[in-house]
């Protein structure tokens, strides 16, 4: 049902949407022929005795002021379904045809 720009993208929308915001936690699987020498031997290990540093983060996107003015949040003139307290709000610009 998508109109205009008929091209296909290899990356999924999820990955693109989350790019720079969150990434899937790895470990990544080694290549088919793993190197017999552990590549990590050269890395500097963090001393276990040092207190691990912890930081609070958030998934919430920082919306740029220009984005907010071009795409205002749901208002009284909009058709909306679902509670205002919902953790995720989709705004869809759609054409029935």
């Amino acid at each position: 049902m998508r109109k205009t720009l008929p091209f296909s993208l290899l990356l999924t929308g999820l990955a693109l949407f989350l790019a720079g915001c969150a990434s899937a936690a790895t470990p990544a699987q080694a290549t088919a022929t793993p190197s017999p020498t552990p590549a990590s031997a050269a890395s500097t290990p963090t001393p276990a005795a040092a207190a691990a540093h912890c930081t609070v983060t958030s998934l919430e996107a920082t919306v740029e002021p220009t984005t907010a003015s071009l795409f205002p949040p749901p208002g009284a003139s909009d058709w909306t379904a679902g509670p205002a307290s919902a953790p995720v709000t989709f705004i869809e610009y759609g054409d029935f045809m």
Partner: protein, 313 residues
């Protein structure tokens, strides 16, 4: 599609629809006006669904035929048809739809459907389907459970700690290493006691490599709302099946996701914090349903962890 998503997650999803009648489509304005006219009688979403569902029935009609079709649908939907016909071409509705079209053009929207997720543009051209949008809903739903502070220290590193993961396939018992990875073990104990892990799945199980879990959203992108640095003890190695390590999305980005090795994995040494080992139920770990989220969308459901209980001695 989005209406289905809203129906499936009624408390998690709010959906706002805005008209962008594309100028190249001859009946787009009229269709939008019909939805607005139905809306004045409390049936916007019914007309919205009907227009999309029967698009192939009306898109080739002339404007006149389409208007007749709309009137028939309005009557069938129980609308006051006289009022519907008046509202369909009322100044208020015509202007509202035109204004919506102008706003969308001014915003530079390239086509439809165009989505914003919590104010952030969803990449245009990416599939608008359950496979892509459901994980986004699950991730945002998880924000309700996230913590706004890091876990307070609550373990005694001189004591012995073990964790029992009760899974649908049996129990897995993990001996934790508070001496070698105190912050990581404290985090694990904190999350387990908060019930964070209850009901999560082993969302990534790669036979011969690792079984990964710890993300209640099941997407592989979830975190507890904070991240902390690695605690690498060079004496500990991923040298056998059953070694328990923290998953991360780059160095020092540990949250709640962790993995159990299914075989020795020397490539992981020094890059991922080791904080425990399986002392019972390795057969259960080896039986977990294989599942590789990087291999597309047609995946079996992951095996569930019903609860994680901590024993302190």
């Amino acid at each position: 599609m989005l209406a289905q998503l809203q129906a499936k997650y009624p408390n998690e999803v709010r959906l706002t629809f805005r008209h962008f009648p594309l100028p190249q489509h001859d009946k787009s304005l009229l269709a939008a006006q019909a939805a607005e006219a139905a809306g004045l009688q409390g049936k916007f979403w019914e007309m919205h669904d009907l227009l999309y569902a029967h698009q192939s029935d009306w898109e080739t009609l002339t404007a006149g035929q389409f208007e007749d079709w709309l009137k028939t649908q309005a009557a069938a939907a129980g609308l006051d048809t006289a009022r519907f016909e008046t509202d369909l071409h009322s100044d208020a509705i015509v202007n509202k739809v035109k204004q919506a079209q102008q706003n969308a053009l001014k915003a530079g929207i390239p086509g439809t459907p165009y989505l914003l997720v919590n104010g952030k543009p969803y990449p245009y051209g990416s599939p608008v389907d359950l496979i892509n949008l459901e994980p986004i809903v699950k991730l945002y739903a998880l924000t309700r459970r996230q913590f706004d502070t890091c876990p307070p220290m609550q373990i005694d590193v001189r004591k012995a700690y073990s964790a029992t993961l009760k899974t649908v396939k049996g129990d897995i018992v993990i001996q934790l290493f508070p001496g070698q990875a105190p912050t990581t073990v404290n985090n694990f104990v904190f999350l387990a006691r908060q019930g964070w892990f209850d009901g999560m799945t082993f969302h990534r199980v790669l036979p011969g490599f690792i079984a990964q879990t710890g993300d209640p959203s099941g997407t592989g992108y979830g975190s507890p709302g904070y991240y902390f640095s690695n605690e690498i003890d060079p004496a500990l190695k991923f040298d056998a099946p059953g070694v328990v390590g923290m998953a991360n999305s780059g160095s020092d980005s540990n949250g709640s996701q962790f993995f159990i090795t299914l075989a020795a994995a020397p490539d992981l040494n020094g890059r991922y914090t080791i904080f425990g080992k399986v002392i019972q139920g390795m057969d259960v770990v080896q039986k977990l349903t294989p599942r590789d989220p990087s291999k597309g969308s047609d995946l079996p459901p992951g095996d569930k962890v019903l609860s994680v209980t901590i024993e302190e001695k």
